[in-house]
C-alpha cells in the first residue's frame, strides 16, 4: 500500500461526524481490543522518518521534529519512532559534560545588548579555543531538542526502531493496567521469577499446553489500582524470548475500563541482560556450586493438576534430587498448601523462608527458616533432614 493510500485509509470522519467517531471508540473499548504492533507493513513510513533524520544530520532535533510536522505520518507514529530513535542513537551523556562546562563560562547576568552578548561568547571561546559560533553550537547540545542529530554507528535499521517502539507502546499500556494476564506456550520461569522480584503476586495455572499467569499486587484485593503498572511493565521485555504468548491487560485510560490484547508476531528488542543485585536464588546457586554441590538453576516446572510449581533450584544431595523454592512471605496455610502440591506431584522439596517472614509456631521439617540464607547453612539443614 502506498503511503498516501495508507494515510487515506486511516482518515476517520470529519468533525461533524465526531460523535460517530467517539461511539466507534467506545465500541472498541467494550470488548478486548487487539493492539496492532508495528511490523513489516510499517517499515516504509519508519524508513521515511529515518530518511528525514539522515537529511538533518548535525542539525538540532527540533529541526527534525519541525520537518516531521509536515510529513504525512500520524503524530503518534512520529512520536513513537522518534522516541525509539533517541533510545537507539543515545549520546546524551557525553554531551552533558561539554555543555555544562560551556554554560558555566557563558551564562551569567543578562546580556541586554549585542556587544555584551558577543563579548561573553568570545571570552568563553578564548578559554576553550573556539570561535563564538562554536560556543553557540555547544551551549545546548545536551538538551533533547537542541542537540544535533548524530548517527555514529550508521543508519539504524527500521526493524530495530519498530522493535523499540513496540516495547515502549506495550509498556505504556501495561503501566496503566490494573490486571495483567499472560499466557505462554513455553517455559514461564523467567516471567514468574521477574514477577516475584517486583513484589507481584502471580497465580500460575496450566491447561497442559500453555501456562497462564495472572498478575496482581496485594492492594488489588481491595480495589482496582494501576499502582503496580511499573512493576508489571518490567515483564514486557522478557516477551521477546517467548515465540507464542497472549498478553491481556485490563486498563483504564480515563474513559472507563478497557481490555487490550497483545499477540505475536511481535517485533521486540532482544531481552537485555539481568541488571542490578543478583537474586537470592542466583547467590545461593553460586555458593552451593562453590561447595561442590551439583546444582541446577531454574529446573523444569512441576505440574500438579492445573497448578504449576516453579522451584528456584534443584540439587543432588546424598543421591537424592531435591528441589528448592525460595518463599518471600507466607502464612502457615500457604506453606501447608504449597508442600501438599509438591508432595502430590511426587517432588522432594525444601521451602526456604526468612525467619521474620515465616509464620509463627512449629514449621514442617521441610521448611528451612533462616536468618541469613547461605549455601553452607542450607547444606547443614539438608544434613539434618537426612
Amino acid at each position: 500500500m502506498s503511503r498516501k493510500a495508507h494515510d487515506q485509509q486511516s482518515e476517520l470522519p470529519s468533525f461533524p461526524d465526531a460523535a460517530a467517531l467517539l461511539a466507534h471508540s467506545a465500541r472498541e473499548r467494550a470488548g478486548a481490543t487487539d493492539v496492532r504492533l508495528y511490523d513489516h507493513r510499517d517499515l516504509p513510513w519508519i524508513g521515511s522518518i529515518v530518511d528525514h533524520a539522515v537529511d538533518v544530520l548535525g542539525q538540532p532535533w527540533r529541526v527534525l521534529k519541525e520537518r516531521l510536522e509536515h510529513a504525512p505520518i500520524g503524530a503518534a507514529r512520529v512520536t513513537a519512532i522518534l522516541s525509539a530513535l533517541r533510545r537507539v542513537l543515545g549520546g546524551r551523556a557525553e554531551r552533558v559534560r561539554i555543555a555544562r562546562r560551556v554554560r558555566s563560562l557563558v551564562l551569567g547576568p543578562p546580556a541586554l545588548d549585542d556587544a555584551t552578548h558577543q563579548q561573553r561568547l568570545a571570552a568563553a571561546g578564548a578559554e576553550l579555543g573556539l570561535d563564538a559560533e562554536g560556543i553557540r553550537d555547544l551551549l545546548w547540545i545536551d538538551l533533547a531538542n537542541e542537540r544535533p542529530v548524530a548517527m555514529p554507528e550508521g543508519r539504524p535499521s527500521e526493524h530495530r526502531l519498530a522493535a523499540y517502539a513496540n516495547l515502549d507502546r506495550i509498556q505504556r499500556a501495561v503501566r496503566r493496567a490494573r490486571r495483567v494476564r499472560l499466557r505462554v506456550w513455553d517455559d514461564a520461569h523467567d516471567l514468574i521469577r521477574m514477577a516475584a522480584r517486583c513484589g507481584l503476586i502471580a497465580t500460575v495455572q496450566t491447561d497442559g499446553q500453555s501456562t497462564t499467569i495472572d498478575l496482581l499486587g496485594p492492594l488489588s484485593l481491595f480495589h482496582a489500582t494501576s499502582v503496580y503498572g511499573r512493576a508489571l511493565a518490567a515483564l514486557v521485555p522478557l516477551l521477546a524470548d517467548h515465540p507464542r504468548f497472549e498478553l491481556v491487560l485490563d486498563c483504564d485510560f480515563g474513559h472507563g475500563p478497557a481490555t487490550l490484547r497483545v499477540l505475536p508476531p511481535a517485533l521486540l528488542p532482544p531481552v537485555p541482560p539481568e541488571r542490578g543485585k543478583p537474586s537470592g536464588a542466583a547467590r545461593l546457586t553460586r555458593q552451593l556450586a562453590k561447595l561442590g554441590v551439583e546444582v541446577e538453576r531454574d529446573p523444569s516446572a512441576i505440574v500438579e493438576g492445573r497448578e504449576v510449581l516453579h522451584p528456584d533450584l534443584a540439587i543432588v544431595h546424598g543421591a537424592r534430587r531435591r528441589v528448592i523454592e525460595l518463599i518471600g512471605f507466607a502464612t502457615a496455610e500457604y506453606l501447608t498448601a504449597k508442600l501438599a502440591r509438591y508432595t502430590a506431584a511426587g517432588a522432594d522439596v525444601v521451602l526456604c523462608i526468612a525467619e521474620k517472614r515465616a509464620p509463627a509456631g512449629p514449621l514442617d521439617p521441610r521448611v528451612f527458616a533462616y536468618q541469613r540464607l547461605g549455601g553452607a547453612c542450607l547444606m547443614k539443614f539438608f544434613e539434618g533432614l537426612s
Partner: protein, 456 residues
Amino acid sequence: MRIRFDRGTLVLEAEHDGEDPSRIPGAAWDERTLSWRVPADRHASAIGRLSDAGGRFSDECQTQRLEGAWSLPELRWYQHEAIARWSERGRRGVIALPTGSGKTLVALGAIAELGVHALIVVPTRVLLDQWIERLSAVWPHPIGRLGDGDHQIEAITVATYASAVLWVPRIGDRFGIVIVDEAHHVGAWCPHEIFEMLVAPARLGLTATPPDDPTALVRHVGPVVYSLSVDELKGKELADYQLTTIPIQLTRSERVRYRDARIRFSAAYGPFQRALPGSSWNEFVRAARRTAAGRDGLAGWREARGLIAYPEGKRTALRVLLSRHAGQRTLVFTADNATAYAIARELLVMPITHEISRPERAAALAKFRSGELTVLVSSQVLDEGLDVPDAEVAIVVGGTASKRRHVQRVGRILRPRPGKRAHVYELAVSETTEVAYVERRRAGLSGSAAPIGGAP
C-alpha cells in the same frame, strides 16, 4: 492474633482458638496467598478493634522512636499554632501556608514533637535535594533518600512520589509519621495508594494551595486544619509586594499570523464543540489527529500559542524590566521550556528545567543565592516548593490560567527580609487568550493585585 506487614498490606493470622481475622473491618481473604489482609493504613483501626475486644495480639509493625537531638531554630507564632492545631485534630491533616512562610520548619517541628521515624514524600528531585539539605542542618544523623537513582533508608527518609510508590510496599511499616509536601497533588500526581500502603498513623500535608476537590487528600491525609493566606502574612511574616500587569501589543505581522492561526483552530474546534458539547480537550485532540482539518486546527492552536509565548513586545518588555532591576535577583517564568531556552539563548541567562542535570541545577541555585547569577528562567521547575531565598523580582512572561500555579510562582519571591519589597510583573498580550488567563489566575491573589496597565 498476629499482625504482619506484607507489600503494603497487613496480614492477619489467627494464633489462638477463637481468633477470627475476618472480623477485622475491611479484612479480605486473599486466595492467592491464603491469608487475610487489610490495607496497611487500617493498622490503627485494626489494633483499636483488637484492643477493644480484649484479645491478645502481636503487632510486628511497631514504629520506632527517633534517637537523636534536633537543633531546630525558634518557630514563629503561626508555626507553633499550626502544629498545635494539627495535634488537636488527631495528628492527621493539612497545613496550608503561603510559600516562603516556613512550611518545612512546621513539618520538622511536628516530627521533632512526635519523635518517631518519618517518611517525607515530595514531588520532584529538586525538592528531594532541598529537604535533605534542610534536614541535614537540624538533624545530626544520616538522612534517607529515595529517588534520582538513590535508595538509602534511614530513620528520617525523603522520597519522591515516584520512588515512594515503588518503595512503600517494602518499608511502609517503618514510619510513625508521613509528611506530604505539596499535598494538593494527592490523588493525582501523588498516587493515593502510597498512603494506603503506609502504616503511619500521623499524617501531615503541606501546601500553599489546597486543591479544589480535596476528597483524596481528606481521605488519605486529612482535612485542612490550619491555614493562613498571603495577605494575612504579607508585610510581617512575608515580604510586601507589588503586582503589575503589563499589556503587550503584537506587531502588525504577528497580529495577522495570530489571527490566521486562531481562525484555523476555530474552524476545527468550533464544529467539534457543537457536535459534542462539553467534550474535553483531550477528546478533541484525539479526534483532531485523525483528520487533515483537525491536524491543521491543532497546528493553528500551537502556532497561536507559540506566537503569544514570546512575541517581540515581550522581548522588549523583558529587557526593559531586567535593565530596571539590574543586580536584583530575578526569576523569569515562561509558558513552556522552548520559551525558557529562547530567553536563555538571547540573554545568556541560566535556564532551570528538568533537562538540566541535578548537579548543574544545584550549582546554578548556589550561584543565584550568592548573587553570582542574578537571573534564572524556568517554565515549571521553579514553580513549586523550591526554596529561593531573597529573590526580589518575578517576571511572568507566560503561563496558564491556573490560580494555584500563579500563587506558587508569586510565592517564590515572598521570603521575608527587613525592608524588602518584591515586584511581580505579568506580561499579557492584549486581545488574546492571555488576558483572560491573567484575570483568572489573579483571583488566586485576591485583594493584592494592582490594576492592569502601564508600559514598563
